[in-house]
């Protein structure tokens, strides 16, 4: 069983986290979910969600990493200690998945430089300004470049996670999961109705 490590921080976006968690939670034989923040303890957001986390130091860093977005990323991109830790965790991970403005955090580590990626469409200008050395796609539900999966805003994380499952474990399993959670999977990563010009 591979760890599936979710990064949390204050003011994360609720569904960026719990959409992918719902999908991964349906295959507990394959992935073990864990929630981590820098020092552990209670993390809260503007939706009054209050969640208990373990510290980064207790993470099995051989697992898949999920980096959500949310307003909290605006401060964290300038937190050199956080970014350094995130870089180390991302380097160890076999796959790194970001949702929404989570890609700004990953971009800040420098690991996306020269790679293809996408992000939240309303936050596009801010994210692409954080790190201009990334080939930012203006139109994509999600983008894959090697071990890096980056998705558009919020709900796109669900589609990307199903796409990740499909790539790694086969499309049939992704279909079974989407049926189980009665989710109408938007499986074309290049179809993006929320793209902005």
């Amino acid at each position: 069983m591979i760890p599936f490590n979710v990064i949390l921080f204050d003011d994360f976006e609720t569904l960026d986290v719990y959409g992918p968690v719902e999908i991964i939670g349906k295959i507990p034989d394959k992935y073990g979910l864990g929630f981590y923040s820098v020092n552990g303890g209670v993390v809260v957001n503007s939706h009054q969600v209050s969640v208990n986390t373990l510290p980064f130091s207790e993470m099995d860093t051989g697992g898949v990493l999920l980096i959500p977005g949310g307003m909290g990323t605006r401060k964290l991109v300038d937190d050199a200690d956080f970014i350094a830790r995130l870089k180390a965790l991302s380097q160890s991970a076999p796959y790194v998945l970001t949702v929404c403005t989570g890609s700004a955090l990953l971009a800040r580590t420098g690991l996306l430089r020269g790679k293809n990626a996408t992000t939240n469409k309303r936050g596009f200008d801010w994210v692409s300004g954080v790190e201009s050395g990334v080939h930012w796609a203006r139109k994509a539900r999600w983008v894959i470049d090697g071990k890096y999966y980056t998705s558009s805003g919020v709900s796109a994380g669900i589609d990307m996670t199903l796409g990740f499952i499909s790539d790694v474990h086969g499309e049939k399993l992704a279909e079974i999961i989407s049926g189980y959670v009665e989710y109408i999977w938007n499986r074309d990563k290049d179809s993006d109705p929320f793209a902005v010009d």
Copy 2:
């Protein structure tokens, strides 16, 4: 601002809760989110989600009520004390929204008797057996009967919550929210690709 009271219990289904929470969280001028369990404290589920809640006794019962589903409902339908408390909370609420097998809990209170409702499609036979006096719809993304909104499994809760916003505050607001969270809203409550014969 109207309270939006989310009922939690061990082994709730993650996305049943956090899908609607993401939608409601986008209009903090209209709704104030709160998370409640019978006695308050930490609630956990099989996805390792660990969330902090307030006790039912601290709820402002004039708010909208959200009842999620999940494996935890299988035990709770036989917990007479919980069902009696849920009945009182549901009677006080101007609207009651259920997701997935959350409708089994609401049905057990007797408040759905003679009314139209739906539920998770894979759990259909179990839920409809819990309370046979309900007109259970085998094919519906969500069903409205007076103040009761009941949805199909998991992800259908997101569509229903947007439908609820549309009904109460206008379709334009529901569209703005779905754009903000980049969610492809399935707005036809009668279109149900997961219906079973």
